[in-house]
Symmetry: C2
Subunit: 457 residues, 2 copies
């Protein structure tokens, strides 16, 4: 390794390369406080420097793992002493915000929240939003096709990316910094890099689509007694409020009760209901939007679809409601906890959850499981607690959660990706032909298997 | 060829295979009435039959061109006596519409308008819409990533496709019939086939995302005197009416005057203005939406952004307004006409159009050029009339239209694709590295170069 480190130091500068001892002062990830392990960590300042680093690694057959905010959930950025870490922490420039074309051009290391704030300053909105907003980077969002709470209206990261620049394993820079909504000039190469978790190339710069900032916002937490009411209300809101709905986040009763135990969040609605939904609309006509929102709510309360509701009357009330949905602290009090991120057709969700809970209950009578989800997107998160402190139980939990998914044609990953954690289960959601084609792509773009090896495939 | 035809007849049935004489009774395309030429035309009834046909072609090194509705604009489906045509005209089943998940599952040969109507019957909307709706197929829409008039709100076809089934050159069926909004289980293989114009695989079945049908609709044709007013009004509408705007179609004055000459469409607005915009919103609250729409219009008329406006008061008035934008009959009265489909950042559009018109004017003093576009998408269409009846002038026209695009980083194809027509110009919009990566993909998926050869690349 030393000749490679020397070469990297020479071309990128001494401060661009950290060695094992310095690296060990960092945590492995947001979830794993053990010291980071790597042969070296390189901090390029530009796409050209990323290219140089990858070319040197290619020449020496050196494996490379790219690091963004390290808040991914599937061990997609894990390392050991044999790999070189390519950290984009010094590529944090917001290069341009175009208020007419409504685009932002940024380096991959920009933290999501910084982009959101920069857009807001221009009266615009970058609508991808998720709990890790303060740490995750745009490059990581692109590499994992991040989803989050506004997908129902604004799509996942893939739908926000207009252009990007990526560096291939051999150092080739593929610059596709398109700024237009429409561009059908040949294959849409950026799609290869979005969601491939750093295995096909390193994303260094990105052009994303912005929206006009909303002027009105209406938020409510509602209680319902059946899953039919949950999907019926979703349809009613989408019919009655058109495209304004940007979040419809469902918590099964046990989830709500877990995060509102005495001493945790105050429960704004009685804790005995079957389902709770956090919903939010954004629009441009404050008075009319508010009236329409209240109208839909009142009708649903009157006909019994919704049992109870609390509507946020201020930003702080809204923030309080969102904390109930976003703060998982209470769920992680008793380890181990196995977090899942599955998707399946909405109509099959209740049957699936019933089946999973029955399987887990039979396996671990003292265990429990919280369920919540971006339900309009077909996406559920499960927090499985076996009730026994033995992390080796993960595989058994996987068997139940993924096994129950098979009859519904569901996906083992809605938004978190595959990483290392789900690699062994890919065949549940993908056919042999699909996996073979993924391998063909990997071989074509990274024949030496140097980019984030042993992830995804 | 005969042994291959015999083999295809044996496995697919005699009526599945047409020979040259029968094929010649068909027109080459919507644009080209000359008889279609091909060694054979195969009409499979299922994905399995497509697979069988492609496997037989692969074994014999037979080139294959897939046909949908033949209304593409870039000669992407042209054939000669050496190729076998694979027509999906017998794969026209709408397999399922799921009103809860809001998805439709269809075979690739379904005509766009049929899917639109089937969705409407269920109170849903399939929002991809374009002039060729009555002839183009979903498979063709997917293969070309079709755009159209509602992209500003609902995205191009790529954004509507949740899943698809494709057959590779060697007959391998890659079935990725995902029905969920979110699925990050490995590489998103469907992206390879969307917009690759039949060169990487044959799309046989598709799952698309539907929306709730809109309840209110407001449409207007407005006149403006400057391009700044056009972009200013777009921003104002998007701020003031939020996500409701689903069409903002701009006609330069010459375009409007050409389609409203006496004897053609009645001109609902005076013919002397610089710009005309057809705009439309869709929402869910008829009274409030109508009031908001009128409010934005009135304000724009009062402060002079908009000079004149006509608001549709009935479906038939709306249809009349749309005809002005969609009916190109008048533009094709004097051949030759060269149609373009470029995209570039909105802020650069006026400078680009000024430059193109100056170049064309200098070249052909008796020529003229109409310009219109899906401007919110950064997409312009140009109709170039050299004023001299010589179709060989196309290349000179290309030089001006594409040459002027280079300084703005524009694309030679916003939504029509590359096909045969723009193949020689791909390097204007794509770097050498991008084209090399496209070739890598082509070689990996179709090593014998049998799928729609000599198209795109």
């Amino acid at each position: 390794m030393t000749p490679l480190i020397e070469a990297l130091r020479t071309v990128l500068g001494a401060d661009a390369v950290l060695e094992a001892a310095q690296i060990a002062t960092r945590a492995s990830s947001y979830w794993d406080p053990t010291p980071m392990r790597a042969a070296a960590l390189v901090r390029p300042r530009s796409t050209a420097e990323v290219s140089t680093a990858l070319r040197l690694c290619q020449e020496r057959g050196q494996a490379v793992v790219t690091h963004g905010g390290l808040t991914g959930c599937v061990e997609g950025a894990t390392t050991d002493e044999t790999v070189l870490v390519l950290s984009l922490e010094r590529m944090t420039r917001i290069e341009e915000i175009d208020p007419i074309g409504r685009t932002a051009t940024v380096e991959a290391g920009v933290v999501l929240q910084r982009l959101q704030e920069a857009a807001t300053e221009q009266g615009l909105l970058y609508p991808v939003d998720l709990g890790a907003r303060g740490s995750c980077t745009i490059g990581g969002n692109v590499a994992t096709n991040a989803g989050g709470i506004n997908v129902i209206r604004h799509g996942m990261t893939r739908q926000r990316v207009l252009g990007l620049e990526a560096v291939l394993a051999d150092g080739t820079i593929v610059s596709s910094m398109n700024r237009m909504l429409k561009n059908n000039a040949g294959y849409d190469l950026k799609q290869l890099f979005i969601g491939s978790e750093g295995t096909l190339g390193v994303v260094t710069r990105v052009v994303v689509r912005l929206e006009e900032a909303p002027i009105s916002r209406n938020s409510a937490l509602i209680a319902l007694e059946s899953f039919e009411a949950v999907t019926g209300m979703l349809k009613r809101v989408q019919r009655g409020l058109g495209a304004q709905l940007n979040a419809y986040e469902v918590m099964w009763g046990d989830h709500y009760r877990a995060v509102t135990v005495p001493g945790a969040h105050r429960a704004p609605l009685d804790r005995g209901h079957a389902f709770y939904v956090m919903l939010e609309t954004e629009g441009a006509q404050p008075e009319a939007d508010g009236a329409a929102f209240i109208g839909v709510m009142q009708q649903a309360l009157e006909d019994g679809t919704v049992i109870d509701a609390v509507i946020a009357k201020s930003d702080s009330e809204r923030a309080e409601l969102w904390k109930i949905r976003e703060d998982f602290t209470e769920l992680y009090r008793t380890p181990p906890v196995f977090l899942y991120d599955v998707s399946l057709p909405i109509r099959d969700m209740q049957a699936y959850v019933t089946d999973v809970l029955a399987r887990l209950g039979a396996r671990w009578p003292k265990g429990f499981c919280q369920v919540m989800g971006h339900i309009g997107d077909g996406n559920l998160h499960l927090f499985v607690h076996p009730g026994v402190d033995d992390p080796t139980l993960h595989a058994q939990s996987d068997e139940d959660v993924y096994g129950a998914l098979i009859p519904f044609g569901g996906s083992i990953s809605a938004e978190h990706g595959i990483g290392t954690e789900k690699r062994g289960y890919l065949s549940i959601s993908r056919s042999a032909e699909e996996i073979a084609l993924m391998r063909t792509l990997k071989r074509s773009l990274d024949p030496k298997n140097l980019l984030n090896p042993a992830k995804v495939l």
